[in-house]
């Protein structure tokens, strides 16, 4: 295997890997921000300026994490001596990148879920039904079948 062929394999791996990782990250970040904005708009009803700000910050963090990770794992070195090895290296790298993107993406979804839950809980009625209705003195009305402690 000549030096030139190895270098050629490495350059191909790097080229495909770099373009795929940047493309995937950009595509995912845009998807996240586009759909997340609708979500956050619903969450931050009491403070509407928060929605675009939080969205932008999340996307910036997403870019930093993903591109940083993709560039750190770019180096293939001696793992791409033959075209077959180069293919395998490329697949392993792209697979690891996709898995990490998936983990971060689901982490983001969980974050959205938590934020939304906190917003929804703000408007939620008490978790137990009242045992009785008592709008004014002398007008008490005990609900039937309310002997159980939780209504």
């Amino acid at each position: 295997m000549s030096f030139d062929a190895t270098a050629q394999n490495l350059v191909t791996v790097y080229g495909v890997y770099a373009s795929a990782s940047v493309g995937l990250t950009v595509w995912l970040a845009r998807t996240l921000s586009k759909n997340g904005e609708v979500f956050l708009d619903d969450v931050f009803v009491d403070n509407p300026r928060m929605a675009p700000a939080v969205n932008r910050l999340l996307v910036v963090g997403f870019y930093l994490l993903n591109l940083g990770y993709a560039f750190v794992t770019l180096k293939a070195g001696a793992d791409a001596l033959t075209p077959v090895q180069a293919m395998e290296t490329l697949a392993a790298k792209l697979g690891a990148l996709l898995l990490s993107l998936g983990v971060i993406h689901f982490g983001n979804l969980y974050l959205f879920h938590r934020i939304r839950r906190r917003a929804q809980i703000r408007l939620a009625p008490p978790p137990v039904r009242p045992q009785m209705h008592h709008p004014e003195p002398g007008n008490a009305q005990v609900y039937s079948g309310s002997q159980g402690a939780f209504g």
């Binding site: 978790p127 137990v128 009785m132 709008p135 008490a140």
Partner: protein, 151 residues
């Protein structure tokens, strides 16, 4: 798009959402003033951040008897009354108190769920029925649970 107009639209929607949400806007908590444990709990609640304004009314007082005298559980159990006249008694009142506090609302839903509800109910009933006996925890000299905490 005009940002000020967009913001005022979002704010109007937020106001509407809050106005439409059906939850108690204030709570009156009728506690047993002759029990050291209950006074201690009231003191604790008064120092917690709450989602809705709370008023603490001694259940043996003139105000409680005039306004809520026809609630059959008054004096025996913890009674919580909303501005709309809903009445929660005993363990349900306990959960409604937790619901009102910012740091414990999640726990009120958790404790009202199928996994914890029986436990929460037994816990509260055990505390409530032994509330006079438990006064020694707060003041060792206290024999019958009716003495003052000296606060």
């Amino acid at each position: 798009m005009d940002t000020a107009l967009w913001l005022s639209n979002v704010e109007a929607r937020a106001d509407e959402k809050f106005a439409r949400a059906r939850y108690p806007r204030t709570l009156a908590i009728l506690f047993d003033p002759s029990c050291a444990l209950c006074r201690r709990c009231v003191h604790w609640m008064q120092h917690q951040a709450s989602y809705v304004p709370l008023s603490f009314i001694p259940c043996t007082g003139e105000q409680a008897r005039a306004r809520y005298g026809d609630i059959p559980w008054l004096g025996d159990e913890l009674v919580v009354v909303s501005d709309a006249g809903e009445v929660w008694v005993g363990p349900a009142g306990f959960l409604t108190c937790l619901w009102a506090l910012e740091d414990y609302r999640e726990w009120s839903f958790r404790l009202a769920g199928p996994a914890f509800a029986p436990l929460a109910e037994r816990f509260f009933l055990a505390l409530s029925h032994r509330r006079r006996a438990l006064a020694f925890l707060f003041e060792p000299k206290c024999k019958d649970g009716t003495c003052s905490l000296g606060r």
